[in-house]
């Protein structure tokens, strides 16, 4: 069985709790004090020979199931966007890993759901809960989404 923390994952034997492997990475420095992502991680997803989890700073990582070593890593928030964390257990659908973000309490965190290809981490689609300026959905905000608006964080695994 697999157990996770915000920056680590364990593979344990189900009957005895004996540790088979332990993956660890250092905590990123940028998260705000009190951010939920600092202390929470809701688990991982399994497909094929890989397991997938999110990290505190909203990276989605794939680990090899047998060795516990990193296979690929993608950064979920678009470039330059800050304050994003992530806590959810990703969801597997067919050959995709679907994950979201947390931190909607912080400015600028426009929540989204994104699907990545399980074999290599390529982004397949992303749906913004709060649209970016210039998109069709921004009309529902009167055409102007304030830059510090936050919300719509997608921190619970879907079904």
């Amino acid at each position: 069985m697999y157990v996770t923390g915000p920056h680590e994952a364990f593979a344990l034997d189900v009957s005895t709790g004996q540790e088979i492997w332990h993956y660890w990475r250092p905590r990123p420095p940028e998260l705000n004090v009190g951010d939920a992502a600092l202390g929470t991680n809701r688990g991982l997803a399994i497909l094929g020979d890989k397991v997938f989890k999110v990290t505190q700073d909203a990276h989605l990582i794939a680990l090899n199931r047998t060795t516990g070593k990193l296979v690929w890593e993608v950064v979920m928030p678009p470039k330059g966007m800050k304050n994003y964390g992530s806590t959810l257990a990703p969801l597997i659908v067919r050959d995709m890993v679907i994950a979201g973000v947390s931190g909607g309490d912080w400015p600028g965190v426009r929540g989204f759901v994104a699907a990545y290809r399980a074999s290599d981490g390529k982004l397949i689609w992303r749906f913004d809960m709060i649209p970016a300026n210039g998109t069709l959905a921004a009309k529902s905000w009167g055409g102007n989404v304030p830059p510090d608006v936050g919300g719509g964080a997608t921190w619970l695994t879907g079904s």
Binding site: D13, W21, D95, T157
Partner: protein, 336 residues
């Protein structure tokens, strides 16, 4: 040349500095010169970095064999005249500058003479000695990296047991960040004599069970009560110590010594010396159907007792179909 109207035909010779002193120019032109110079200089710097250390490293090895091997050994492992320089943990914390100082000044009290060498050779030699102990990623390692990679996935068959950056098979240890952990010298030893250093969790054991069966594989984890063995097909077996009649530790590595010629070996080491781990971004593992393991169909239609997704099943109702504990006997549950 930039004239007062600001037309932008910039040529390299204007950056040599001397030509421009007589010109009156606007702030804008000055900034343009600086920006363009900055754009050019990384290119020059890159050219220097990418070529000079590679050439120097093989020259340095020759200088070493002429000047140093007499006392420190041809393999830098030391002789009765001088200490080992390769695999010397004390040297690992020493900077290149410190080593350079010792080479050029000697250690009179210790019997090491001062070596007067041209500056270029001295620098290269100091970097070479440093590389004997520092992680391979920080050293200039001679060899053809692409040829090394071709050998790794091809003739050497290394991918059949090792994963690198998501490619290969996960039988033995993952090598994706090998260069951050081993020095070039340690990489060479691992290739030529794998049994010298076996990664923890990959020691070969054969467990003889009381029921007559045997399980052979890697001892991934063990305690006083149980041992988890990953057999050579990748299956994990939990074996309780009271089920086992004997555990034979094979002191040898499963990996055979690398059967490569000297040039191929050097190329392979050069390739391994650049494995510094996976960086964020889409990996170059090409898309393919998921290999054996948990499949999507099995997640969609789980067997009784499977809990293969966060909410148990894809419908997310977190219901378990197990029936050992049921509505009728649940009130009999007691703490033990």
């Amino acid at each position: 040349m930039i004239d007062k109207q600001g037309t932008r035909a910039i040529t390299l010779c204007t950056f040599s500095g001397a030509n421009t002193t007589g010109l009156r120019r606007s702030w804008k032109a000055t900034i343009e010169i600086i920006l363009a110079a900055l754009a050019v200089s990384p290119v020059l710097l890159w050219a220097q970095r990418s070529h000079a250390p590679e050439v120097r490293a093989s020259e340095a090895a020759k200088v070493f064999s002429v000047e140093c091997a007499g006392c420190h050994g041809a393999d830098a492992r030391g002789t009765d005249q001088g200490p080992a320089l390769a695999g010397a943990r004390d040297l690992r914390r020493r900077s290149v500058l410190w080593i350079r100082h010792v080479i050029s000044n000697g250690i009179p009290s210790g019997g090491m003479p001062a070596f007067v060498l041209p500056a270029g050779e001295l620098n290269a030699l100091a970097a070479f000695v440093h590389s004997l102990n520092s992680p391979a990623a920080e050293s200039a390692v001679p060899g053809d990296r692409s040829a090394g990679e071709r050998y790794f996935v091809g003739q050497g068959k290394c991918s059949s047991c090792h994963m690198v950056n998501g490619k290969g098979r996960a039988v033995g240890p993952d090598l994706s960040d090998m260069a951050n952990r081993l020095s070039a010298d340690e990489l060479r030893t691992s290739l030529l004599n794998p049994s010298a250093r076996i990664t923890p969790g990959y020691e070969l054991v054969t467990v003889l069970l009381r029921n007559g069966k045997t399980v052979r594989g890697f001892a991934r984890s063990r305690s006083n009560f149980e041992i988890v063995v990953q057999d050579l097909k990748g299956q994990f077996h939990l074996l309780m110590m009271n089920e086992a009649s004997a555990i034979q530790e094979e002191k040898r590595s499963l990996m055979p010594p690398t059967n490569a010629g000297p040039a191929e070996l050097q190329d392979l080491i050069a390739y391994l010396s650049r494995l510094t781990g996976i960086k964020p971004g889409v990996s170059d593992v090409t898309s393919r159907p998921e290999p054996r393991g948990v499949s999507w169909l099995r997640i969609l239609h789980p067997r009784p007792g499977d809990w293969l997704t966060y909410n148990g099943k894809v419908n997310g109702n977190r219901y378990s179909g197990l029936t050992q504990i049921n509505a009728r006997n649940v009130k009999q549950l007691r703490l033990q």
